[in-house]
Symmetry: C2
Subunit: 204 residues, 2 copies
DNA sequence: CCTCAATGAGTGGCTATTCATTCAGCCGTA
DNA sequence: TACGGCTGAATGAATAGCCACTCATTGAGG
């Protein structure tokens, strides 16, 4: 039904279908919630048979895992890259925030999965947070500490707490954006948050 | 099995059992997650038969609703009361924050249900947020606006955004506290958050 | 005796996962 | 070039297990 390269014939096909199923799953999870989504829904959304899903994923849960892993990996990579291109710690934090909200603002379905569906279970939260979120928080924290050493930020502040505050504020912007009926751009909120945040943590 | 007042005989009994079931549900939901919790688990935790649950609640979902409604109502009432006893807008916000974290810090199971389980579905989020969260955010917002009028807070800031930032920061403190393996007091975090927050939003 | 809260075994509906079957493309052979 | 398996990706009907919810029955209190 689908044409494929001849050598290494499985790779391109596999990647295609895996990706299609993942994209379908994001859409379905976003609309119905993880627990109310049927594997059959995902399959039909992806245009494959029910059983095909199990050729690419061990279980429904693994699909959710994969969504998280892939997205978080991308996000962190993008974040690091951005950090490498910036000097001023204040601007670094601004970049992280902007990237964070841009990424979610560009894909509402993915945002719903991240802000809502992934939070819906302590089990997921613990597993996931250990890996991905913690790393992300550390990215923020170490950037802040860098700024403290540079004398830009108030030295007496606990960097861990500061990181959580910034993350929490951004996270809430995203969640509110999803739940809001009004349609507005998410990314520009980053500046409003950063304004207050930087004003609160800057030295002098 | 349980003794009761003679007149109006249903009220005391009903209240007792309803409350017992709710308390049990909080515990069970906190440990297994809403979707992985069986009604039978709740019943046995509450020390009643499966069917008894349905004498007090229409469905499993209604139990979750009730937990949210009751707790949110209490929290908002407590918040309003506290606000009435305070003058300075800065102190008002500090009180709200402290109350917020104290309440969650005092009951870990309830906190898990609030921070994790209640977020796990867009459907819930939309229904709930419309009612409870929005009201809570408004409480913060109007307090902030009061402070703006009094010249305490920077007048150019968007109060709605400011409210979300504060709420988001507190919310993240709570979520992190739940997921953390280390045991620490949650309430004192309020001061650290408020320090940075107030520093960020204060006039001058 | 009544009444009615409480019980808990049974039912119905649902859905994740499995697996026997199909079939498209490919290769060796004539 | 034409043919006849062969491979394994894809299918989707069937299974197996789970669990919210019902309701006929019980028995304590009055």
């Amino acid at each position: 039904m689908r044409s494929a390269r001849s050598l290494n014939s499985d790779r391109p096909i596999v990647a295609d279908k895996r990706a299609a199923i993942l994209r379908a799953a994001i859409r379905v999870f976003a609309h119905n919630g993880y627990f109310n989504s049927k594997v059959a829904d995902i399959a039909s959304e992806a245009g494959v048979a029910d059983g095909t899903v199990y050729l690419y994923f061990k279980s429904k849960e693994e699909i959710l895992h994969s969504i998280f892993d892939r997205s978080m990996e991308e996000a962190i990579a993008a974040g690091r890259k951005q950090l490498a291109q910036t000097e001023d710690p204040r601007e670094k934090l601004r970049s992280i925030a902007l990237l964070h909200l841009e990424r979610l603002g560009d894909d509402r379905d993915l945002a719903v999965v991240f802000q809502v569906e992934l939070r819906g279970s302590t089990k997921f939260m613990e597993e996931f947070s250990a890996a991905g979120f913690a790393e992300y928080l550390n990215l923020i924290r170490s950037t802040f500490e860098e700024g403290q050493r540079a004398g830009v930020f108030r030295p007496e502040l606990n960097a861990k707490v500061v990181a959580k505050i910034l993350f929490g504020a951004l996270d809430e912007m995203a969640t509110n954006w999803i739940l809001s009926k009004r349609r507005y751009k998410l990314a520009p909120m980053a500046d409003q948050v950063l304004d207050i945040f930087l004003n609160g943590v800057s030295a002098k």
